[in-house]
């Protein structure tokens, strides 16, 4: 079985992991309640999308 010959150095590990970046989520404001929401997704605070209301879309703080 092929195995690594050398232990990966701390420097290499860290330089590899330094490129793990995150990006900010694109947000728009809800036309109904003006809370921040993701585009093309029903508003999590009031549950509306394109003038229609969806109960299941509403999120409390604990539901994440």
């Amino acid at each position: 079985m092929a195995v690594p010959k050398r232990k990966t150095s701390r420097s290499n590990t860290r330089s590899r992991r330094a490129n793990w970046k995150t990006t900010a989520t694109t947000l728009t404001s809800c036309p109904q309640c003006s809370a921040p929401k993701q585009p093309h997704i029903a508003c999590p605070s009031c549950g509306t999308y394109a003038g229609r209301h969806y109960d299941v879309a509403e999120r409390s703080e604990h539901q994440g």
Partner: protein, 216 residues
């Protein structure tokens, strides 16, 4: 030709996928609106719309074709007798998928898929008709589009002017009859004389202006 589905099947195999989609379609036609993952909703949409097309056809053969997918006769009956008549004017697009964010447990993107049962709105129908008309005019005449538009605008303006002319005499008559009523009464009950005379006035402000003019 239907577009082949990309990516792995739902569930553990082809039979499992068929079962999942059949159960989802049954639930959709039973409840009109179901919440599921976005991937399942997207896979369900073509199947559900094809079943609605069968339901719109409405004959026994179509019913048997639907029964091979939706095993519940009660649900198939509902699809054929309640849902299909609502879709009569609609040419496809029988379902609507709305994304509702990610699920808490596994962060799966969720969606609501629902049957679009509200009648086709008149505004959209007229818009589609107008688009078709402009396409036809563009075909017949390359430059014909702008003169036609200006002509239609002119027609609208003339009709508006006619309406204004029609309104004017009514308002004038109301104004001429206003002096018969006591000035104080007119002041207190501005709307009353108009109602008593049976004159339908769209703008109460015009009436008020007329009475004030007669007073002055």
């Amino acid at each position: 030709m239907p577009t082949p589905t990309k990516g792995p099947r739902l569930g553990g195999g082809p039979a499992h996928e068929r079962l999942i989609l059949a159960n989802l379609a049954t639930s959709l036609f039973e409840h009109d609106q179901i919440t599921t993952t976005t991937a399942k909703a997207k896979r369900l949409r073509p199947l559900a719309e094809r079943l609605v097309t069968f339901a719109k056809r409405g004959d026994l053969h179509a019913r048997r074709r639907v029964l091979t997918v939706v095993r519940d006769k009660g649900v198939v009956h509902r699809l054929f007798t309640e849902i299909a008549p609502d879709m009569a004017d609609r040419q496809g697009g029988y379902t609507r998928i709305t994304k509702i964010g990610n699920r808490k447990g596994d962060n799966a993107p969720m969606a609501v898929i629902e049957l679009v049962r509200e009648p086709l709105s008149a505004k959209k129908a007229t818009v589609a008709e107008a688009e078709a008309a402009t396409k036809r005019s563009a075909k017949t005449k390359k430059v014909g589009k702008s003169p036609a538009a200006s002509k239609s605008e002119a027609a609208v303006s003339t009709t508006e002017a006619d309406a204004a002319v029609d309104d004017a005499p009514i308002v004038g008559s109301a104004g001429s009859e206003a002096p018969l009523v006591d000035a104080t009464e007119a002041e207190v009950l501005v709307a009353d004389p108009a109602g008593a005379e049976g004159v339908v006035l769209q703008d109460p402000d015009d009436e008020a202006d007329d009475t004030s003019n007669t007073k002055a």
